[in-house]
């Protein structure tokens, strides 16, 4: 099973309105993805909590096996 980067992006954008999201497929196999997320919701949160928000948005696709690995980079809009 695999998931398109665009779908991951939509899931994250839906969970974090106003976020800037870029998702790339690191291996070409659509199961190792990297998401770069800049979101106002991250303001004041620790890194682990920022990542929790992103992971939560895509958790269902982890649980059903569509995503095997997702690297996350988070930042607060400058």
């Amino acid at each position: 099973m695999a998931i398109a980067p665009a779908e991951v992006r939509l899931l994250i954008e839906a969970a974090l309105p106003g976020a800037k999201v870029e998702v790339v497929d690191e291996t070409g196999t659509q199961d190792h993805l990297r998401a770069m997320v800049t979101a106002p919701q991250f303001e004041g949160l620790s890194r682990i909590d920022q990542h929790r928000l992103v992971k939560k948005a895509v958790q269902a696709r982890f649980d059903d096996g569509s995503i095997h690995a997702l690297s996350v980079e988070t930042s607060v809009p400058g």
Partner: protein, 138 residues
């Protein structure tokens, strides 16, 4: 739901070890590229840490750490009872110096941080490690 006993045991482990890594495989024989990278970071810091191989009980441990720390993927690094993060966060914090500070370790030289992760590999020749594919359960 994780069995209550397992969750209690995991909590006890987290509280009893100042630096604890949940990983796939062992530090000597990591069975996932991300776990291997965290081991590399910890080794470069020269700190002592406990490592637990999650593979023998992957799903129950996911449930347990999900309940304890709201985090279900491995590796997971705990320091002083708190979840620091997985591979991404650990590497980011290693580069920025935050991890050395948290661990009370000296910040390794930048080349040491990356060099120790793949001691014998020629970066030009070796493909990125993706052996965690073999652990796929679905």
């Amino acid at each position: 739901m994780a069995e209550p006993e397992l969750k209690d045991k995991v909590e006890e482990l987290i509280n009893d070890h100042e630096v604890l890594l949940f990983m796939k495989g062992t530090p000597e024989q990591p069975r996932c590229g991300f776990s291997m990278r965290v081991v590399g970071v910890l080794d470069s810091m020269g700190v002592e840490y406990a490592a637990l191989d999650v593979l023998p009980a992957l799903e129950p441990l996911r449930d347990a750490t999900g309940q304890i720390a709201d985090w279900r993927t491995f590796p997971q690094l705990y320091v002083k009872g708190e979840l620091v993060g997985g591979c991404d966060i650990v590497e980011e914090m290693a580069e920025s110096g935050e991890l050395a500070e948290l661990l009370g370790a000296e910040q390794p030289a930048p080349d040491e941080l990356s060099a120790k992760q793949e001691p014998q590999a020629d970066p030009q020749q070796s493909p990125p490690m993706r052996i965690e594919n073999s652990q796929r359960t679905r």
